[in-house]
């Protein structure tokens, strides 16, 4: 049982991800833009943040991830990336972007569950 905030501008991705994570017994809170997402994280202090790259937004996912880290929010961040790998921005975790892992879109439910459980496990061990 963990509290997870998902921030993505695609409501269907939010719906699908929530469905998957709910079915594993997690509580999911969603936001469709970076501002709401930031507020949600501040208000709810979740155990995990899932963040889309959101290239269309002026303050994209990378920016938001930085903002969380600057606000001393150390919750693990899982990033949904859409084109990053295919266009060669194969940055390593924590190198350029302060996130803990990536999930390439389209999201495979089983992979998502696997990565989420892994990050939550790491958080517990800390």
């Amino acid at each position: 049982m963990a509290k997870i905030v998902i921030i993505d501008d695609d409501p269907d991705i939010l719906d699908a991800s929530s469905l998957v994570l709910n079915s594993k017994g997690h509580e999911v809170i969603t936001a469709t833009n970076p501002e709401d997402g930031y507020q949600l994280v501040i208000d709810n202090s979740p155990d995990l943040i899932i963040l889309d790259v959101m290239m269309n937004e002026p303050d994209d996912g990378f920016f938001l991830a930085q903002k969380f880290r600057r606000s001393k929010i150390t919750v693990p961040i899982l990033m949904y990336s859409s084109v990053s790998k295919t266009i060669g921005m194969s940055f390593g975790v924590n190198e350029l972007v302060p996130v803990d892992d990536f999930v390439e879109k389209p999201i495979s439910p089983s992979l998502l569950v696997e990565k989420v459980e892994h990050l939550l496990q790491l958080r517990k061990e800390k």
Partner: protein, 459 residues
């Protein structure tokens, strides 16, 4: 320092390159001229029955030596020149060369009889070269000076103001003291010199203008291509977003997150998933290609091709085992040289190339991957005994979205972008890709395909 850069010279790099090439060409040519003058001095007595006086012999030999010496110095100075329009640059260097040459030629002309020597025609050649590289005013000044100095020599000799050095044996009767001859020849000479300069200068001007227009159009084309690729990437990304959502929903259902679904529906959903995966693969491929075309420069990392190949093969283990493919990977190189290239791009290219071999092959097929040395580079051969490529498709398979007729009819899935990506990546590395089908491993009903990739060690 006077800037000698002509007003029409805008494209600096190309312009300076041309000037530098010409300078080095002049220096080589001048050695030839020295040799010719030497042969002329030595052999003309035997070949043409010409007899030089001692003064002429000494003067001509001395001039030849001086030319040889200044050419040596010029050759040495040339190396240290910088293409700065406001300092002593290759253009000033050309001017210096031209002045030295004209002086030497003027002296040779004087010591071989002034108006009587055919050598004064060589001035025309100098003037044309000068017009091609020097700005109008400079070359006009030079042309007028040449004509006036020449007139000075001709009429100085006519009036016995300076001594005449006749070439004995060349003419039956002396002509330097013939007024009509001197006037006629020197007038025409002056006219030819000035006209060559005017015409050559105009032609050079027009040529450079056309070149400029070409360069401009080329740049516009490049800019348009960049815009196009950005647009394509934008559109494809927009298409990928809903596709990704669709795909995630299908996975959600298929992986049982919404409870069980009856088998008939499940089959169709699986089919839908396959097709949407295909569409996503296509968007990824298009994005990779667009990105490649937007990249002006590729990375230059030191790469061990063998390592990339091993890792690519490792990632394909599943299909190799499933299809029981007999894979032979050989590295026949004596020296395992590294190449300079972009690891990410080469990985994409090799992965496409090798997965094609595994894909378009029957179970228990044979695939050979061979690395070898070839010229100043390495050659990678990926050869299989798979379904091959029909002859009529061979020249089109590297086109975007092109899929050979036999794979379309047999229902293999694919986007038709793989080979286009491979070709693009390899060419970006200065290499080439060739295809052969039927291939070396061909047998009955299994023509097979062989891809030969050449990558230079230094691209």
């Amino acid at each position: 320092m006077v800037s000698l850069v002509p007003s029409w010279a805008i494209y600096n790099e190309e312009f300076w390159g041309a000037i530098k090439r010409r300078n080095s060409w002049f220096i080589k040519l001048r050695y030839g001229a020295v040799l010719m003058l030497f042969v002329f001095i030595v052999s003309s007595e035997y070949l043409l029955g010409i007899k030089f006086t001692n003064t002429q012999l000494v003067a001509l030999s001395l001039i030849n030596c001086i030319i040889l010496v200044y050419n040596g110095i010029l050759q040495w100075v040339r190396i240290y020149l910088k293409c700065d329009p406001f300092k002593f640059n290759p253009l000033h260097f050309s001017l210096v060369q031209m002045l030295l040459d004209l002086t030497a030629l003027m002296l040779v002309v004087y010591f071989t009889g002034g108006i009587e020597t055919p050598l004064f025609m060589l001035f025309v050649f100098h003037m044309i070269i000068g017009s091609l590289i020097l700005p109008g005013t400079v070359i006009y000044t030079i042309a007028f000076s040449v004509v006036f100095v020449f007139y000075g020599i001709v009429f100085g000799e006519y009036h016995n103001l300076i001594s005449h050095h006749a070439v004995t044996g060349l003419l039956q009767t002396p002509l330097y003291n013939n007024f009509k001859f001197s006037v006629a020849y020197s007038t025409i000479f002056g006219f030819v010199i000035l006209m060559s300069v005017v015409l050559a200068n105009k032609i050079a001007n027009q040529l450079y203008r056309m070149e400029q227009e070409l360069v401009e159009s080329l740049e516009q084309l490049k800019a348009a291509e960049v815009e196009k690729q950005k647009y394509v990437m934008g559109v494809v990304h927009e298409i990928k977003t809903p596709l990704a959502a669709l795909h995630s929903y299908l996975d959600l259902i298929l992986q049982g997150f919404l409870g069980s679904v009856n088998e008939k529906v499940l089959n169709k959903l699986n089919r839908a998933r396959t097709r949407s995966a295909e569409a996503i693969q296509l968007t990824n491929d298009v994005l990779s290609v667009s990105k490649l075309r937007l990249l002006d420069e590729i990375k230059k990392e030191e790469i061990k091709v063998r390592d990339i190949l091993s890792s690519v093969i490792q990632k394909q283990r599943a299909i190799i085992e499933r299809k029981k493919i007999k894979l032979h990977f050989k590295d026949n190189r004596k020296v395992k040289a590294k190449i300079l290239g972009d690891r990410f791009l080469l990985e994409i290219a090799f992965s496409n190339l090798i997965s094609n071999a595994f894909k378009y092959i029957d179970d228990e097929g044979v695939v050979e991957i061979i690395l070898d040395e070839k010229g100043n580079g390495i050659q990678l051969e990926v050869c299989d005994n798979g379904i091959g490529i029909p002859e009529k498709d061979l020249e089109k398979i590297f086109n975007d979205f092109y899929r050979a007729s036999n794979i379309r009819s047999k229902g293999y899935e694919g986007t038709g972008m793989g080979l286009s990506i491979i070709k693009h990546v390899i060419e970006r590395h200065g290499g080439t890709v060739e295809v052969q089908s039927p291939a070396r491993l061909a047998s009955e009903n299994k023509p097979g395909t062989s891809f030969l990739v050449f990558l230079p060690l230094e691209s």
